[in-house]
């Protein structure tokens, strides 16, 4: 199983803002996608879902694959519905201003190696 990465380290790496604290304080891998069906194909466990899509379906999809957290990139506006669904489902919601491409790069050192 992949190593645990603390969500606090994720927040620091991408200069993110925590919108909702979920049940878990770590993730093991990142899945980056704007297509929910693509996310549903992942076999990874306890993931961070990285997306620039901010609808409630992102939260529902995260829940279906047991994701621990969602990182919403590109500083897109996030509706209160999305935040309240995440808190209802116990999923951590983080937002950051940088694009997905750069966020992926900044997160990589936390997840790669040993």
């Amino acid at each position: 199983m992949r190593k645990k990465v603390l969500l606090s380290d994720v927040v620091t790496a991408v200069k993110g803002r925590v919108l909702n604290n979920g049940d878990a304080d770590y993730v093991r891998w990142v899945v980056s996608s704007g297509l929910m069906s693509d996310v549903l194909t992942t076999e990874e466990e306890e993931i961070l879902l990285l997306s620039s899509l901010t609808t409630t379906q992102v939260v529902r999809t995260a829940d279906m694959v047991g994701a621990h957290a969602i990182l919403l990139a590109c500083g897109k506006p996030i509706s209160s519905d999305t935040v309240s669904l995440a808190s209802e489902l116990g999923i951590t919601l983080i937002s950051c201003e940088i694009p997905v491409f750069e966020a992926g790069h900044l997160l990589a050192p936390l997840f790669f190696g040993d």
């Binding site: 990142v30 899945v31 980056s32 996608s33 704007g34 297509l35 693509d38 194909t41 992942t42 990285l50 620039s52 899509l53 590109c74 694009p99 997905v100 491409f101 750069e102 966020a103 992926g104 790069h105 997160l107 990589a108 790669f112």
Partner: protein, 110 residues
């Protein structure tokens, strides 16, 4: 760094036979074409799983350097032909958008 050099450095395969081997300025990771239309900068490599002819049209419109298709998604024949016609490189990798973004970022910035 040119498209062919990025491919060589990252070990990602180029699947189009002919393309304009231009300098790669940046990367943009997105699966939403409307988002790409709005925000991708020219001469960027688009990292996506949208293996679709429309992606070539968007890339051509925005003068992107190329399209990197992730998760080993199959590239339809009409997409490959359209890309060759437009001179846009299509690259293909088994890795996901996260790992690919990191590899390409590292290749062009470091």
């Amino acid at each position: 760094m040119r498209v062919s050099e990025v491919a060589a450095k990252t070990g990602i395969e180029i699947v189009t036979k002919s393309f304009n081997d231009i300098e790669v300025a940046n990367g943009y990771t997105s699966d939403l074409l409307s988002d790409v239309m709005g925000f991708a900068e020219e001469e960027s490599l688009l990292i996506t799983i949208q293996a679709h002819k429309n992606t070539v049209a968007v890339a051509s419109q925005l003068d992107l350097a190329g399209i990197v298709i992730c998760n080993g998604r199959r590239i339809p024949e009409d997409m490959r032909l359209a890309a060759e016609q437009e001179g846009i490189a299509i690259l293909q990798t088994e890795e996901n958008q996260f790992v690919t973004s990191h590899k390409i970022y590292s290749a062009i910035r470091e």
